[in-house]
Amino acid sequence: MLAFRSEEHVQRWREQRCLAPGAVFSPEQMWRLAHEWYRDRLSPDWQRKTPEEAQALFEEIGLTGPFWRLRP
């Protein structure tokens, strides 16, 4: 996942590489996701998130739709 100046920059970069459209969202959503994903990584009690927990986190942050679906 990469950070771009704007959606126009994403589109130009993607078209030059013949890549299908991905998902574009805000840096604020990215920060919230990264914070919840990694804040306890140094804890002895850390456990990898289950697909259900990850899906719930995506939805809480507003990352919804088929692109974000972890299971069919």
Partner: protein
Amino acid sequence: MNDTRVRLHLYERFVADGRPPTAAETAEALGLPTEEAEAAYRRLEEGHVIVLAPGSTDVWMANPLSTVPTPFRVITDDGRSWWGNCVWDGFGVLAMVGADGLVSASCPDCGEPLELRVSGGELEPVDAVVHFAVPAARWWDNIGFT
């Protein structure tokens, strides 16, 4: 049990030293046979906790940290620095160590520098967007490209 000890040691050393310990170094630090530390590294990879360089037990990624330089440099306000694997992981490093700082990247399209700064535990407003190329269900098909 050993896997938790190995994971914690690996991450703690990576954060402190800026590079992950080898399996032999972890074995020595924890009083384990080297073979057991190597097996633990492999189990951690199978569990999608870390990523090893192909054909070895050398750590490539201990997410969110990268052993090799990437376009995502993470610098804390107290002067520590690491590489993140991507913008998610760049932010993840700051979240993991609980520090303010910045993720220094650049727009892949125009090359213009992008500084994403976290201050007081919050992201400062920035004129940028984030792009994921690969749907979530397929991230681990090739974790080096998402």
